[in-house]
Symmetry: D2
Subunit: 359 residues, 4 copies
């Protein structure tokens, strides 16, 4: 089976992999839409999750079910499905505690291209199909559908972590695809002013369309200083990008009683730092919530319903399109090189071609 | 001072009242925009809060400050202000517990036209001006501003009580002005499908504009049956109208784990009833939250920011306009008679004429 | 296999049942301690869940695993286990939404003696063993362990539903075994004054030991009147008993901003009624939360840890003990007859005798 | 008026101060019990709030009202009162948002010995008497009452910030008087295992009495390593002491989905640091809540009710007692020197002597 993998840190390539095995609760799917993520780039070129050999990349996909295990009740071969990037073990203690994304341990619900092969292959494996897949709604655009796997789920989780409520002022730091979804999500979760921090023209334009009321360009000066000057302090900060200094600025710009939600994968440095004084010497009631998006079926269905009802249009994130599984390589390289007109690439697979099923 | 009052149950009229006295923390305002509310109608003609004599009606207003007490720091004569219908005592135990609307006792934060004279007068009194007034934002339309007092605050509180989150399906029962704001609020707090229950054509049309995806007409059949058929059960129900049967239907249509938020003032009957079986024999985790909107300055500022940033346009509720304080009578009678083209009337007062200030 | 069953409404008896079948995720256990519940009595003699034929009764047990399915990782034959009365399907949408007790539909997580045979048999079946069983901690008293299945879990859930916080005044209506656990739970979740409503001397004495500060006897007068006279209104009400009037009284005695948590299974009447005026005409912010205890492994482990660390001693509930599976009949009849010295009976099974395993 | 003040950084002494002036909402009290706090020591000798001249120290007191302003309704001269260390402005926006402790700006609710003179004087001033004082319950021990001002309120706030629920495992880092109250508070808010980090024998003994199940001595080895070895990770960490490394260890020892509550005033260093990897690269759902205790009347009443009902006995914190206002100096020096037998000193003032009132 053909797959696009991280062969080792710093290297990618096409590899031949055995067809994945389907357990009694699982499904095997073939991809019909795929998208690479910045974290694929970090995985390969920053070594952010450590050394791996021939690990199939990718965790954003729309698929078609080609096989299901004997205990799967709700899906059957031929079903077209939304696939979340995070696929928890739902009976784990962590899931029972409301933190399925950490089922089995810290970040344990993130399996694709981390603890098992990812989706950039002719076929991929989904654990607990009934718990983790969702039917692709009839008529849903594949670009929108593929953005649900991670971009929408993570971006909106930033809004949830930050606790945006009616009339809150919100700063969104970073307006790559996740941050753009945080902007869009804040606008449909009650935010009033949204200060979007970024500078790339296409992202800035899209941020405005998604509901940003102010654009803050870090080239102009310190973003905390700028946002404080405009707002006197914001109620919520969503961190969806940035660097080592970002939490310092986030704490500076948020009001006492406010909250910082982080959905940025911090891939370097030993420590994350907060400024002591502006954090109220530990007593400022400036809460910090950083989390991995929840995964699973219900969330996919809920997020899809936002697209279906026209509340959210994630397809606008897609700036580049490729066709066929070979397109994955170009898409990944595009994410690596980040040309100025890129927000998110999409790979559409030949829908008509049957997958190499050998059940 | 000229004022429009409930002279006794079933009767209204113009009365002469002494100018209100300004305590050290208080403000005296003259109205620049006023609106009558269905609860004014209930107060007079249903006797819903009991017998009162010459009680000045009205709790929805935009005003201009004409006098402030010695301890007021943030407002001065000439300031144009948003006025919430609920004006709590902020140092009360209830406010400290997070329920300022009940400061001093059940519903105690609702003072206008309840425990003191209302706003339908040449001048009205506001307790704790710093805690309860908010500056009218420059350029804000007076119709929108006047809707913030109660319609927006109550309608959006329904969304908060029901706990609408991303992708939730929501039923809004009743699409008078409050219910319409619940529809609009649900749409900007994460709802996907919104089932709006109502039938008057102008309300139906506006419900769609505000984000309703389905209209449920109770003339067609039982609303719970209709909504269950379409949705299989909704996540949230907002009760913003209806009658004695409404909670029965609300419990029937909401999923286990869902929530019912009530913002309808129930003005008749000894009891509210729930259906035992569909309420899971008491174990269905179908929560019921009924509450009076929070009042005060911060909420006014937050709600105003939604209008300023274009997230919410409450001015569309206003279907009829009158001018001058005399218009109050026509507006109240319109609310009483409810012609089919009415959603909400507004009275604009001559802005140029100075109020009869005798400080 | 010998089992004690509801043969039809109003009748119980010993029946012969086939050995339950173990699915890949499941376990088969033999009981080592059992307890009947008031809901067994309601199931049989009130027909509260409808007609059933030869349905094995019982949902409170400590067991020994005799067989596990091929996909079970954490348990093996010979393990002694805590068994929750509610055993959800953890990958269901409802569980993903945080309401596992309703997995598959209203009350769907309650399977024992409801949608499948219960635990009063030589062997019983547990769905999703890894998700629903917990190891019996070494040295834990079997009486305490058996009370964890339902009495502790339900009683403490009342505390959680009512939202008891530091310094809250709490009324607990009903001090049968569940209500007693609500008293004990409130005392270790921050309550100050606890008004326990009941009159049976043994229950009253135990309520005081568990932390009740005041006993309210309904023979003396209306309980709401009594509690209002003493407290001026309580912050939280836990309904763990009572009749049709109880919610009326609960609404009367709770403060605005307070909360009523119900864990009483309401088994008769078409409707539950609330008093309109004291409920603030729908706007009193007196929340009503009624729910089925959450089930599953994590909750069993957490509740067990309270016993292990000495925070809670549920063994004191047990007033009568029987030995051998035959004792189940006597215990059930005792629950039916409710002699004045009864709180809770326990049946201990001969630990040494091997179960009739025929794997 | 005689007062004990910080004359400048590093120096204290008795100063003569004018009698405080009573505004219309305020009260003037004479102390009947006083206690110095570690933060008084930091204020003087670490300069933790910056340079101040002749600032009267102290924020823990029980008092007797000697004068009230014209708008005060609930208190009168002669009333004996509990005095919270934090006395917010209740009509401020921050209070309306639920964060009264930051009324008027970061930490703005902390006024005593910070933005105005403290309580170590013959008389002290209380802003918003109705909102901030509470009657001393009849018969309450003055030692317990004085501990409510800060030790109990702060210690229990740690429990609230960390979100301790039934069966949670909790680590309390630091078992000075605040940490000891966190231990006691965790035990009456549902904790099972409580790992108390400390080594002074008197504190260790008292921690066990208050409910600690394990004592972790940092002299033996890294506390995170020890607690992880015993627990496999705790659900909650309450930081009530420690140094620059403490948050690193807190993040290490808490489970994904867990929470860290900080009530330690961090008085040195530019930054607070978190370990990136153990914080899940920003995605570990290990929440961090650091806050200043809420103040005001309702909280004092609620905390007092825990003492009255015997749930909490904070008087056991008091190891040293002094008499007369002169005792304040000895008590402060004791806090500075921290002899090994000290937990908390108390100063009792001659109750019979009338205060130098000159109204």
């Amino acid at each position: 089976m053909k797959a696009y993998a991280m062969t080792r840190i710093g290297h990618t390539g096409w590899v031949d992999k055995p067809r994945p095995t389907c357990g009694p609760l699982d499904a095997i799917c073939r991809p019909i839409a795929l998208a690479p993520c910045t974290s694929d780039v970090h995985t390969v070129w920053s070594g952010s999750i450590g050394e791996r050999f021939d690990l199939v990349l990718g965790h954003e996909a729309v698929g078609e079910v080609v096989e299901v295990g004997a205990l799967v009740r709700d899906f059957k071969p031929g079903d077209r499905v939304l696939v979340p990037a995070v696929t928890p073990d739902w009976s784990s203690r962590e899931a029972q505690a409301g933190f399925a994304m950490h089922s089995g341990g810290l970040l344990g619900g993130w399996k694709f291209s981390n603890s098992k092969d990812g989706v950039f292959a002719e076929l991929f494996h989904v654990n607990d199909a009934d718990g983790n897949l969702a039917l692709l709604p009839a008529g849903m655009d594949l670009a929108a559908a593929c953005m649900l796997s991670d971009m929408v789920s993570t971006g909106l989780y930033g809004v949830e972590l930050a606790g945006v409520e009616f009339g809150d002022t919100v700063a969104v730091v970073g307006i790559g695809p996740v941050g753009l979804m945080s902007v869009a999500g804040a606008a449909i979760h009650g935010a009033s002013e949204i200060y979007a921090v970024g500078s790339r023209p296409n992202c800035v334009a899209l941020a405005r369309e998604y509901g940003a009321t102010q654009i803050i360009d870090y080239h102009v000066g310190d973003i905390a200083v700028q946002i404080l000057a405009l707002s006197g302090g914001v109620d919520r900060v969503i961190v969806a990008g940035g660097d080592a200094k970002t939490f310092v600025q986030a704490v500076q710009m948020v009001k006492p009683g406010g909250c910082i939600g982080n959905v940025n994968y911090l891939d370097e440095g030993d420590h994350v730092i907060f400024p002591r004084l502006e954090w109220g010497c530990g007593m400022g009631n400036k809460s910090v919530h950083g989390g991995l998006m929840p995964g699973g079926r219900l969330r996919m269905e809920k997020l899809a319903s936002l697209v279906i009802t026209g509340r959210l249009d994630p397809a606008r994130l897609v700036t580049h399109r490729f066709t066929g599984i070979e397109g994955v390589e170009q898409a990944v390289m595009l994410m690596k090189d980040k040309p100025s007109d890129l927000i998110k690439p999409l790979v559409l697979l030949d829908d008509a071609a049957p997958a190499p099923v050998e059940v």
